[in-house]
């Protein structure tokens, strides 16, 4: 396995509150990794540390062989251009049109107009975004459209790393299912390293190659999605995984009631 992201003895805090005490974890390149756990388990803070938005109190985070610095550092700024970020509400700039949001990374990177136009069309096709939406402001988009725009922006420079912080959790069930399907297809075809934070077990089981189960700042279990689903390592892990809706448990072939 070639690790894309390595955490070595990392301690993190959210403001003054310690969130992660001692995280050591390696995430393989080219796979989709889910960080999953209840609210306050520190999963978003781990995601932030990958771009330097949260600086470790102890230990170090290495991304693609490079040690992460604080996001303000000029060299980190440069490194961050290699990562795409999607937030729960999309993280779109409200004062920019759909088009200006999507092409912003390329404008900042100084791409030519023709190259930007061509890439824009590619991405609209890739994430399923109608080009009629280009002139709209984010306010006038549905939740699903917003996430598609955010995905297109995150993928614009074709970064090796894609970071998603609960990207689907505020969507209605229908567009959520739709986007889950499309994201699975997308991640499979792009073969990029994806780190996805979610608190939704079925979503994690559906999308992830590996799952890191977090409980109050500690890794409760880490491994292939299948292993987590079938062999929870502790009572807590079992309870958490079983919180998935019955429909999903059925579809994923989980045994009801007792541990396998």
């Amino acid at each position: 396995m070639i690790p894309a992201i390595v955490f070595s003895g990392v301690a993190l805090a959210y403001g003054p509150v310690p969130v992660i005490e001692d995280l050591s974890l390696a995430l393989a390149a080219g796979q989709t990794h889910c960080l999953i756990g209840p609210s306050g388990s520190g999963k978003s803070t781990i995601l932030r540390s990958i771009t330097g938005l949260s600086a470790p109190i102890r230990g170090e985070v290495k991304v693609l062989g490079r040690r992460v610095e604080h996001a303000d550092a000029a060299s980190q700024r440069e490194a961050n251009r290699g990562a795409g970020l999607v937030l729960q509400n999309g993280g779109l700039f409200p004062h920019l049109s759909v088009r200006d949001n999507v092409v912003l990374p390329a404008v900042l990177a100084g791409w030519s107009r023709e190259r930007i136009e061509q890439r824009l069309m590619e991405l609209e096709a890739l994430v399923g975004l109608a080009s009629e939406l280009r002139a709209r402001y984010p306010r006038a988009l549905s939740g699903g459209q917003r996430q598609r725009v955010a995905l297109a922006r995150a993928l614009f420079l074709d970064p090796p790393l894609l970071l998603l912080d609960e990207p689907l959790s505020s969507l209605d069930p229908q567009s959520r299912t739709e986007l889950q399907e499309e994201m699975k297809r997308l991640f499979g075809s792009l073969a990029r390293t994806v780190v996805l934070v979610t608190h939704d077990v079925p979503e994690a089981l559906f999308l992830a190659d590996t799952i890191t189960l977090l409980d109050r700042g500690r890794v409760a279990q880490h491994g292939p999605a299948e292993t987590i689903a079938r062999h929870p390592a502790s009572d807590w892990a079992r309870t958490f995984v079983r919180s998935a809706a019955p429909r999903w448990r059925h579809m994923l072939g989980l045994v009801d009631g007792e541990s396998p």
């Binding site: 932030r48 771009t51 961050n80 251009r81 993280g91 700039f93 920019l96 990374p105 900042l108 402001y137």
Partner: protein, 499 residues
């Protein structure tokens, strides 16, 4: 587009600033004539100005109609003013701090010893008096101020009379009076209050034409509480040497203005509503001591609208530009630190609580009278809405957007320009709009410190108690405020299209 509009606005402001700066660059020599805002001050100031102009020795800058004797003396001592009509009693009290001094020759000698130059006496004594309606005087048998004893008379007096050592206080203690409610108000208005029976007495200036027009009885100062206020010309050090012909021309006025003459000239302005420039010109011509070109620019006839508008707009634009130059970085700096933001906002909030007229006078010791103190005061006034706008605009930005900016690899400058400025723009423009509208209104007060603008008409209108003249100043000021409001509201809606 929004950025371009803002840029255009800033450039326009800069251009106006530059134009005003050029306009204010005097081709030397210039003689600055100042006067009080009362009727007599404006007539005498105009007379002095025309006498100087008739010699061709210098260009005259008129700063007539200033807010009060304090303002005039502050300006004079700061070297902001060359020439001013004055009174022996005022010099004794304000300059020499010997309020009981009455002998003209002594006062002149002492004032000249301070380095100032005096021409006089001009011939009239415009002292304080107590005026009552004739019917009241007859009903209560009032002939002397002593007769006021034993009844709680209601009065209306000028702030000057209330403050002067030889004014209200001296009269009350000399005559051992127990007065009722004595209100302070603008001189011309106290005559209105008297006519309407809202007060029983007013302080009069003995050369006021209204005394005769309203048929008032001026009570005899039988105990001599009031000192003499003999009219004179006061000039700054070195004036006579530098402008000998002007000095000689002014000298022709000595002894030529009797009480009756002065009263009738005041009446031409106050009662007949002729402009002081015409009154002065006619009088000087009648004496044969000068044949100056008549100027007329007050009391509504041939009002110099372009100049007043430019002055008013200039005050607002330049003060706004200054407030932006300070307020934008201050607000940005404060918005980074919530605790600092609170202190900064309450600090600039304190400025806002100072009454406009007080704030205008605040800067006189530093900048003298005229344009500068007004611009600085207005800029200080505009600070709160602007800083508030910046802080509101910046602090309401979703923190996660700054994270996105960092992950997009934006530099600080790019983040400010592409994210923070456009997102804060609607609140910021709203702040500037409020500041501008407040300043249009407050700038109307600036005439009291000699900064010109529409307030000139309001001050004149008050001095002669003519509401039409007041409205001539107030309406365009309101119109300008509405226009500016509309302009910024349009900018604001442009900048918030995305909301």
């Amino acid at each position: 587009m929004t950025r371009r509009t803002l840029l255009a606005l800033v450039i326009a402001l800069a251009a106006i600033t530059a134009a005003l700066a050029c306009r204010r660059e005097p081709e030397a020599p210039v003689i600055r004539v100042a006067s009080l805002r009362d009727v007599e001050g404006q007539v005498l100031g105009e007379m002095f100005a025309q006498l100087v102009e008739s010699t061709g020795e210098a260009r005259v800058e008129r700063r007539l109609g200033l807010g009060g004797p304090g303002v005039v003396f502050a300006a004079f001592e700061a070297g902001e003013v060359d020439l001013v009509p004055q009174y022996s009693g005022s010099l004794a009290e304000e300059l020499l701090r010997e309020p009981r001094l009455t002998d003209f020759a002594t006062i002149r000698r002492k004032v000249e010893a301070l380095g100032y130059e005096v021409l006089g006496p001009l011939g009239f004594n415009n002292t304080y008096g107590i005026g009552v309606k004739r019917e009241v005087a007859e009903r209560f048998g009032l002939r002397r101020i002593s007769d006021l004893r034993g009844r709680a008379w209601r009065g209306a007096v000028t702030p000057e009379f209330r403050e002067a050592v030889t004014g209200l206080g001296a009269m009350v203690s000399a005559y051992r009076l127990a007065l009722g409610d004595v209100r302070t108000m603008e001189h011309a208005l106290s005559y209105v209050a008297l006519a309407r029976g809202e007060v029983d007495f007013v302080d009069v200036y003995t050369t006021d034409a209204t005394i005769r027009a309203q048929d008032l009885v001026v009570l005899d100062d039988d105990l001599g509480a009031f000192v003499r206020y003999e009219g004179l010309v006061l000039a700054r050090t070195g004036f006579a040497r530098e402008y000998p012909r002007s000095w000689a021309a002014l000298g022709q006025l000595v002894g030529r203005l009797s009480d009756a003459t002065m009263t009738s000239l005041n009446g031409e302005f106050e009662i007949a509503r002729r402009s002081p420039s015409l009154i002065a010109a006619d009088f000087l011509t009648s004496l044969g001591i000068a044949r100056p070109a008549a100027r007329s620019e007050v009391a509504g006839d041939e009002t110099p609208w372009v100049r007043l508008t430019l002055e008013h707009l200039g005050l607002v634009a330049v003060s706004l530009a200054m407030a932006l130059a300070v307020g934008l970085p201050l607000g940005w700096w404060a918005s980074q630190r919530p605790a600092v933001a609170r202190s900064v906002l309450s600090l600039v909030g304190v400025i806002q609580t100072i009454p406009g007229i007080a704030l205008l006078c605040f800067f006189i010791p530093v900048f003298g009278v005229g344009w500068e103190p007004a611009v600085y005061a207005l800029a200080a006034y505009a600070l709160l809405p602007i800083v508030q706008g910046v802080v509101t605009g910046l602090t309401q930005i979703d923190a996660s957007l700054r994270d996105v900016a960092a992950v997009l690899g934006m530099t600080d400058r790019q983040r400010r320009r592409r994210l923070e400025l456009p997102l804060a723009a609607p609140a910021l423009i709203a702040g500037v709009r409020v500041a501008a509208v407040i300043n249009v209104g407050t700038a109307a007060l600036a005439a009291l410190v000699g900064a010109g603008g529409y307030g000139t008409l309001i001050v004149t209108g008050l001095a002669i108690n003519d509401w039409r003249v007041v409205m001539l100043g107030a309406l365009p000021s309101a119109g300008m405020a509405m226009l500016i409001h509309a302009l910024f509201a349009a900018l604001e809606s442009r900048a918030s299209r995305w909301q």
